[in-house]
Structures are given as structure tokens and as C-alpha cells.
Symmetry: C2
Subunit: 193 residues, 2 copies
Amino acid sequence: MGGLDGVENRGGKVAVGKQQLGRGRGCCELVLRVLGLVFTLAAAVLLGVDKQTKVVPIQLLPTLPPLDVPVTARWHHLSAFVYFVVANIMACSYAALSLVLIVTSGGASHILKSMIIILDAAMAALLFSSIGATLAVGLIGYQGNSHLQWGKVCNVFGKFCDQVLAATVLSLLGSLAFLLIIVFFVLRAHGKS
Amino acid sequence: MGGLDGVENRGGKVAVGKQQLGRGRGCCELVLRVLGLVFTLAAAVLLGVDKQTKVVPIQLLPTLPPLDVPVTARWHHLSAFVYFVVANIMACSYAALSLVLIVTSGGASHILKSMIIILDAAMAALLFSSIGATLAVGLIGYQGNSHLQWGKVCNVFGKFCDQVLAATVLSLLGSLAFLLIIVFFVLRAHGKS
């Protein structure tokens, strides 16, 4: 009987250990989801409020001297930046919704959990595409492109470009949070099988 | 005994059914992996060989008439296109390697399977970022941007731009194949638990 008790105790300890590990992983997923929400929200706001006005000399006619004209750089002047803001707002809203669903449903159903992980993957894909778009256009803004005769603009609108870069880094952190949730899910599924 | 036989038969049928379902899913994953390989390879080749030469009138001095100069559009003139080709080559090579690993290892270890699924997610992220970058730059090539004074180029290099668009669609199909592998993994993990 003593031996059986020992087995039961060990079995009990293993069960409690697994339960604690499960709770730890669940908690880790919630933290990642909150980070995803915060980073994507911060990225959307940072690019959404990005605006810089500079006085630029513009040559209207070759025979006249250049005129000093105030020019404003805004995020909605480029489709890539609009896509970035929309994608980050979508990801941030989804992160909030998924948090509410997970917290309110407690032990959420397996179908709901699967749907959430699939949507996490979709959000990561959406965010990565918007980050790629923003960085590609931002890089041309920094360097220009002599082949296409697209001049650089970040030498004039430096603050605007720095803010775009900061928003991209924040969004990258947010998308890595979504990617890490998937990594944890895969490792958990591997642990279970 | 007849009743027990019935239970055994039913149990056997369920086991066989589950085995067939597992094989079907495994086969589906292999098909998706092959599709990922083919689409990303085709996308990399299509953009890698993209080249168009046109005679364009260029004004060297305002006092001289414009000169007709042959200008060639090449994929490596833009960082976004270079990133696209490199990303697709990486995804294509990885798809080939993962196929070899899965086929040669037969019932691959759980750790290997988990590693492959995590790398699938990383490849999907890489591909989506490169698609976003290519589409963002391509869109400016089609429409131009009056705010930044970046002129459109696709009115001149139409064939080149069409080939970029075709490569992007192929790469999108490839990245969706990687994303679907993750979706199937999530659904399978849900079915097991």
C-alpha cells in the first residue's frame, strides 16, 4: 500500500506540476496578447499623428527665383502608411477582442481556441505585410532612387521619417508577439501529443 | 460476446478511420508544401528575369532638344524587389529542405515536426513582408505620388510592372500555402486534444 501511495503521490505531483505549467503558459499567452495590443495601438497612434511642416524653396518657373512655400508631410499622403495604420488598428482591435473572449469564456472551447490561434496567424501576416510596405517606401524616402528619379525626402522631413521608423519598430514588436503566441501553441501541442 | 465483437469492430473502424484521416491530412500538408515550393520558386524566377528596355526622351539641358536614350528597368534597381527575390528563394529552399526532412524521417519526431511548423510560420511572415514591400513600391510605380514628386514609371515600363504583379500574386499563393499548413496543424492539434 505504501508503494501505491507513493505512486499516487508522484502521479498527483505530476498532475499539479502539469496544471501549473499549463497556467504559466496560459498566463504567458495573455501577456503576449496584451503586448500585441499595446505595441500595435502605439504604432497606429504614432504614425496616425505623424505630421511635419517645413518651408521648402520651390521653383515655379525657370525664369523666376524659387519661392519659399510651407509644405506638410502627413501619413495619409502614402498608401503604404494608410495600410500600416489600418492594419495596426485591426490587429489591436482583434487583440482586445481575443483577450475579452479568452478571459470571459474561462476554459474556452477548443473550437474557439483554434479559431483564435488561426486569426493570430492571419494578424501576424497582415502586420508583416504592412511593415514590409512601410519600410520599403521609407527606405526610398531615406535614400531616394536614381534609376526611377525618385528624390529622397527624409533629408527635409527628418522628424517625420524618424517617427515612421519608430512606429515600424513598435509594430514589429507587436507582430512578433502574435508570432510567439503561435510558437507557444505549437510547443504546447507538441508537449500534449 | 457478439456485443463485445461489435464494440471491437466499431473501435477498429474508428482507429482505421482516424489513421486514414491522419494520412489524408499528412498528404494534404505535403501537397501544400510542394505548392509553397513551386509558387515561391516561380515568383523568384519571374521577378529575377524581369527586364525591359525602352527608348525614353531625356532632357539633358533646358536649351537643348530632348535626347532619345535607351533605358532598362531591372529588378535589382529597387531594394524592395531584391528583398522579394531573396525572401522567395529562402522560402523555396526551406520548403524543399522541409519536404526532404519529412519524407526521409518518415514518422518524424515531435520536436522536428514542431520546429518545421515554427519555421513555416517564420517563412509566411518573411513572404508577407516581402509581398507588402513589393506591392507598396509597385503601387507608386503605377500611380506615382504627387506629394513626394515621385513620377509613375509603369506607363513606360508596362511589361516590367505586369511581371512584378504576376510574381507578387504567385508569391502570395505560396505564402498562403505556408499559412494553410499552420491552419491544418492548429485544427489537427484541436482534434487530438
